[in-house]
Amino acid sequence: MLDLPDYINQDFEVPDRYSMIPLCSKGILSKVIIKNEINSADHWAKCILSVSSEKDEEAFSSLFTHFAPRIKSFLMKSGTGAIIAEECAQETMVTVWHKAHLFDPTRAAASTWIFTIARNKRIDAARRNNRPEPEDLPWGNDPEPDASDIIIIQEETTLLAQAVKDLPSKQRSIVERAFYADLSHQEIADETGLPLGTIKSRIRLALQRLRHNMK
């Protein structure tokens, strides 16, 4: 078992109906009960699944309340004006609704998935051109995911976020500025002493699973 920081185990109020929902709309996983493993990241993943399977407006509203103001803020930090940022945040949430069935909780945390949508909206808004998008592709030769994969990926993502937060402030600022599009890829390439190896070693579930399956 992973050595988890305390905040993961803290109680999180989750409506009853989230304790038992279909974990995967494809029917790969049937109903799974995860009562004791609830944490916030997990909660958002379940909300997306609920939107996907039941067009659950209440779950969507809580996703909106949590993520939309953060997306708007993230976009404004990326140099987008408040009006466009508001519009992009709304567009991102519209896409969350429409693409909810493509969200795969064994591959990405809710925040990761929503981040990629927001990032692509930012690129579209800034450049008015297309961004080639690979992220909706299905995975080849996908084995049956395990319910524990879902919990692990949500938890690993939380740990990864913590690892970034724990970086020395200069390094942390470089990583954040890259994501706020405040640095160019040349500047990243020229940067020495970026602890990317340390960071990436924090989340490797997808890679490990893949290697395991190739054996």
Binding site: P138, E156, A178, A189
Partner: protein, 214 residues
């Protein structure tokens, strides 16, 4: 599909952060569509983005924003977002939007010694093109002023460093001075993106450079 040559960590992070020019995005997205392993590597970097989003302090949305979003959802033409299928063609999905549906639909231009290219339309921060190198043919010896990514789509090539097959990416920068040569068993087709012109060693390719936009 197992590939040997992946993107380096900094380029993965740049892609995840969304700060690569369109031409490089195209190469990366195309490789991600060929290799699940490449996507799994990317996943960690996108998770960093998710973590940063989660940590960002909130900025208030406009008062009616949630209702606006529900209205947009309901008024949207029931656009179905079906997951694209993995197809075993030469062109993965992201590339089709730029290069046409299949290899046969590419409009090639001869650039000498049987080598052909097709420039793809992207924004001007970097350029992307398809390159067709006949079996056994060597590209002129060159180095790079900026960043160059070469993704093999069909066949293989080798240079001073290694052998590159479908799905492999070679990253060219100031330090790489190479002489890529298509393998003898068939033509090699690559997707190349570059943000600076190449430096050729000999004078002839150098003179032709402005005409071929390479």
């Amino acid at each position: 599909m197992t590939i040997k040559h992946h993107l380096n960590e900094k380029l993965l992070m740049s892609y995840a952060a969304g700060i690569l020019p369109e031409a490089f995005n195209l190469v990366v997205a195309t490789q991600m569509s060929i290799s699940d392993e490449a996507r799994a590597r990317l996943a960690s970097y996108e998770a960093i983005g998710g973590g940063i989003l989660e940590e960002t302090e909130k900025v208030e949305m406009s008062p009616n924003s949630l209702q606006d979003v529900f209205n947009k959802i309901k008024s949207a033409k029931t656009k179905k977002f079906n997951a694209p299928k993995m197809v075993e063609g030469v062109f993965p999905e992201p590339l089709k939007k730029y290069a046409g549906k299949e290899l046969g639909s590419v409009k090639w231009k001869n650039i000498g010694r049987g080598v052909k290219q097709s420039i793809l339309k992207t924004d001007s921060d970097a350029s992307a093109r398809l390159l067709y190198i006949p079996a056994g043919t060597a590209m002129p010896n060159h180095s790079h002023n900026g960043l160059e990514m070469t993704l093999v789509l069909k066949g293989s090539f080798h240079d001073e460093k290694d052998l590159f097959k479908r799905g492999d990416i070679e990253i060219g920068d100031q330090d790489l001075h190479h002489n890529p040569t298509a393998s003898n068993d068939g033509p090699c087709i690559c997707l190349v993106a570059s943000d600076a012109s190449l430096r050729f060693k000999s004078i002839i390719p150098r003179l032709l450079q402005p005409f071929f936009k390479i």
